[in-house]
């Protein structure tokens, strides 16, 4: 029972990161109909920018985290403006072109970082204690608690933003029907820009938290992208609430699989789950909840 509790806690920690990874991806898809294959590279970029700000320039961890994520959000805006040029093509062509463009972009970003920063792995030094603390039967660290708290707080804030703010309502309207939203005066291009910036900002925070717990390296975005897609499919494409539940579900399933079967089966189990979801409930397990 102690082992199970610990594995569930481990799953919650990694699941919290999955929420941040997948939350951004799913809103970008939901609002803009872009399958962003460069999403993982924004996660990696955030981690590297934070590494420079925190480890090299000795900025406070939280200041570095915020600054790096804002920078990644701004890069997201530039990328969105470029992708916007495909907007005047047909709907199908737009999807194909943006997929191709983001695949290419992901390769360019990852390889550029590999050349500039080198292939070695580094850890972001958060300065937050990593000594083990007993909480009942399970062992936690201050940083792991911070990861969970941050992911859930950010998700809650973003959920409230979507539900009650003017921009949030406009985003939801654009998601439901782009043409109708435009006809009532919503500036769809501005909404697209804000959505891409928020999505990039969220995934960047995920990258920084992972880079402080484990390591950063130029190709860390590849795995992150796969996990984010897995969560988005589990939770339902375009559903932020689904991404939250899907992230936690995937994290816990992976952790229990690794603990009770073998670490090698961890990824396999997640992808078997995705295949099952696509076969039996292609709209995602939690899509109803978000609507």
């Amino acid at each position: 029972m102690v082992e199970l509790s610990q594995q569930i806690f481990n799953g919650l920690v990694i699941g919290s990161v999955y929420i941040l990874m997948a939350g951004g991806l799913t809103i970008i898809f939901g609002v803009m109909n872009i399958v962003n294959f460069a999403h993982g590279e924004f996660y990696m970029l955030g981690a590297y920018l934070a590494y420079v700000l925190i480890n090299v320039l000795n900025l406070n961890f939280f200041a570095g985290l915020l600054m790096a994520s804002v920078l990644v959000g701004l890069i997201g805006i530039i990328v969105e403006r470029i992708l916007d040029h495909f907007g005047d093509r047909g709907e199908t062509e737009y999807v194909y072109y943006t997929i191709l463009a983001t695949v290419g972009l992901s390769m360019i970003i990852a390889n550029t970082v590999n050349v500039v920063a080198g292939p070695s792995q580094h850890q972001i030094i958060s300065g937050i204690a990593t000594d083990p603390i007993m909480v009942g039967p399970i062992i936690v660290t201050q940083f792991k608690i911070l990861v969970i708290v941050m992911a859930f707080s950010i998700s809650a804030i973003f959920g409230l933003f979507l539900k009650y703010s003017r921009y949030g309502k406009a985003m939801r309207a654009t998601f439901e029907n782009k043409e109708a939203a435009a006809s009532v005066g919503i500036k769809v291009s501005t909404i697209n820009m804000v959505t891409f910036a928020i999505g990039s900002f969220l995934v960047s925070i995920g990258g920084i938290l992972v880079g402080s717990m484990f390591n950063i390296y130029p190709f860390m975005g590849i795995t992150a992208n796969l996990k984010a897609f897995a969560v988005v499919i589990l939770g339902g494409l375009g559903s932020f609430g689904g991404a939250v539940l899907g992230g936690i579900m995937l994290g816990v399933i992976e952790s229990i699989t690794a603990g009770y079967l073998n670490v090698g089966y961890k990824d396999a189990v997640s992808f078997i789950l995705i295949i099952l979801v696509l076969m039996f409930k292609p709209s995602g397990l939690f899509n109803k909840i978000s609507k």
Binding site: V2, G118, P119, Q123, I139, M220, S255, N262, V263
Partner: protein
Amino acid sequence: MKKKSIAYLLLVCFMFVTLYGCGPSNGTADASDKILIGVIEPLSGPESYDGLRMLEAVKMITEQVNADGGLLGKQIELKIEDGAAKTAESASAAEKLVTKDKVQALIGAYASTATAGLLPIVAKYEIPLVNGVSQDEKLALQGNKWYFSFTLMNSTIAKMAIPELVKSLNIKKAATVVINSDAEIEYSDVYAKGLSALGVEVSQNSFPEGTQDFSSILTKIKEEAPDTLFINMGSNEGVNFLKQLYQSGYKGKLVASDLYQQWADEATKEIDGMYFAARYVLTQDTPVNKKFAEDFKARTGKYPDDSVAGDYDSMLVLFDAIKRAGTMEPQALREAILKTDMDITRGHIKFDANGRGGFDCKISQFKNGNIAIIKTIPFTGV
């Protein structure tokens, strides 16, 4: 139209020259006025931290020998390729070094899986490959007469160290944790077998290469509550694993084969008290090791570890054999390597008739930022 055709022709020529590096400025040195040694290291990818350091050691000793007049009256030129610690990349690098650069001997390629890619090449072209790093015994057992392997194999080191470790650390229940690759799984198997034979209860654990989050495997190990954990993994994974092991609250003893300098630099607190059944110990008090450690520190600002010492030793063995052979003729060089009888950084080395060598195993402990030898176990053969 004609101008366009000429431009295309020039472009093709330019690409050919760039890709294959056969322009005048890139021309290969004449084998008659230089000794050409091929070096394959992981210069990119997760193992590049070690690869770049190993390359520095190889360059360092080559520059020293060249400054002293070279060998056989010739300067030594290194031809360096990146094998990325992978089989296919290392094999391609070796093929290029032998066929295009015309190297006369090879050093490399760090990971056993990478070195495995070199073996068919050296057998085909009949040139010596000297390797003091790769630990997979299966490579040495292939019967390749051009492969000279002289690190302590996992099975040898287990045979030498386990009885002493079980006795001195009072091990009753142990667990192994390794990367899921041939050499590391072999390590886990031979250690589990050796420990079980002495009545120790053992569980074996492995994780895929590239794993970042070890929390699940650490929770499982903690539940099993071993008194000693045997680990075998690369320097990068090791730092990450050791930090997470510390965060998991593990209080038992830790044993590994060798101390990577990256562990000492980046996980100093986490490895305090850790034991090593070591091939190389930085503080080993021999003239060869002292000179090597000091020179390497002066050159790179960091101390060497087993991988770095392994490639430096490979160069020592190769250069000594070239001197004794008096020629770069492959068969003569092969025979000279087999007759090696010399001090290297990790002890004293001799080869058996199959090109396999070894040296003493050093049981040592890392404490308060320093490593010290507790007991030396003599090498009695593979």
